[in-house]
């Protein structure tokens, strides 16, 4: 077995690291638009209109059943073709990252709506009725009573979904995006793929701290906002698994 080249590893590590900004920007925008879509889907689902709710269910079902890499290819190759063919709009000048963001926004739209649905349902119907009976309107009951409680129920899952997004986003290299993985892949191939071990160890050591930090941040937030811990003087542990 050949020796591990620490110098190459270090060089790669330092060269790849700045590309985290690319990774984080598609993670950020995918989450932003994903939550937007998710809110829309959730509202449709609870609209009480049968057609809207069915459409929302179909959307969620499709997004959960198609592998993300398939959707990514579909968007990357299919969308420009469709835009050109149907509307005569050229998408040649559009950056690869846009396709990544579109793909993952669509995906996260489905998964965040499921999180929101679970959070909404976690708040008992008695809370809503109590709101109505002190004279709150439907909207007041939602934002004063239901929403604050639903958000608490969602927080652990939101943390999970961001971590999922960071990892799943690595697929972006398959359409040639220069993010963390894409850059590592490129550096390695420039050297004739001779330093695969160094490349991927470096990559692992870039992804790992990111997810660990996120995990800690969310554990902290969760602790901060959990009802049990708002209680002065009494410390109650709420484990992540419980929710």
């Amino acid at each position: 077995m050949r020796t591990f080249h620490w110098d190459i590893f270090l060089k790669f590590y330092i060269e790849i690291l700045p590309y985290l900004s690319v990774t984080f920007s598609y993670v950020f925008f995918s989450l932003l638009f994903g939550f937007g879509i998710g809110i829309g889907i959730t509202v449709m689902k609870f609209s009480g209109k049968r057609i809207l709710s069915a459409l929302a269910s179909i959307y969620i079902s499709v997004m959960r059943c198609v592998p993300s890499v398939v959707l990514l290819f579909l968007i990357y190759y299919g969308l420009p073709m469709m835009m050109k063919g149907e509307f005569g709009i050229s998408m040649d000048h559009i950056g690869t990252i846009v396709y990544v963001i579109i793909t993952f926004s669509l995906f996260l739209g489905a998964s965040t709506s499921e999180i929101m649905r679970a959070g909404y349902l976690a708040v008992g119907k008695g809370q809503r009725e109590a709101g109505y009976m002190v004279g709150l309107s439907g909207w007041q009951t939602f934002y004063r009573i239901i929403f604050p409680q639903a958000v608490r129920a969602c927080i652990p899952n939101i943390g999970n979904i961001i971590i999922y997004m960071i990892k799943e986003g690595a697929l972006a290299y398959t359409i040639g995006l220069q993010d963390v993985l894409g850059r590592g892949y490129q550096l390695n191939s420039l050297k004739g793929n001779a330093y695969s071990a160094e490349t991927y160890v470096a990559l692992a050591l870039i992804y790992w701290p990111c997810t660990i930090i996120l995990e800690k941040v969310f554990a902290y937030i969760e602790k901060k906002v959990s009802l049990a811990d708002m209680i002065a003087g009494q410390k109650t542990e709420v484990s992540m698994e419980e929710i």
Partner: protein, 251 residues
Amino acid sequence: MIEIKHVKKSFDNVEILKDVSLNVADGEVVVILGPSGSGKTTLLRCVSFLEKADSGIFSLGDVSVNLHKISKKDILKLRRKMAFVFQNYNLFANKTALENVAEGLVTARKMDKIQAIRKARQALEWVGLSDKENFYPVQLSGGQQQRVGIARAVVLEPEVIFFDEPTSALDPELVGETLEVIKKVAKMGITMIVVTHEMSFAQDVADKVVFMDGGLVVEEGKPEVIFSHPKEARTRQFLSRIISLDPVYYI
């Protein structure tokens, strides 16, 4: 004056309320008794619009509405004249005792915040929970939670308060303190409709007792009459089962 006329309600083709009418005078305390499934709770929920009745008329003061066909606006307007005390308390889990009591004043009735807090404090003091104002519902016992629930209702100065089995989720030990507070409310002269299984409470406090069974009002009258000389056989049967057990303990 509250008038409930010909209320009908079915769930999945099961008739829960067959045709219920009830008049309640201002300041009157009406206790509704009856076995489980007789429709007592459903009646309260229909007239507070938590369930949509299949038909029926409801009048509160000078407002009269069709329970089956009522706009959201009218619901809100009427609800702001009433209050509801739930079996499971249903205190807002994300708010402290004081915030729970103040919520209806501040958000629904747009009262000045400082004034609302002052009123909410008074209400909490009135139910004997001044020292718990910054506690969250999870930190309070069932009896304390229900007393906050009562304060939350009373502070709104409603025209009527509905009590839906306010003590049946409580530990037997805690029933007494809660009933004491409800009796205090009765003495204030607020109109009350109380669904309960507490017979002695009904005897002490009610101006009128209504006995329901099978989705119908079987009998109504003054408590001394209903408890000692019920006219209907069904009422006698129900009362004898409950009351005669009191002094004798079967093992």
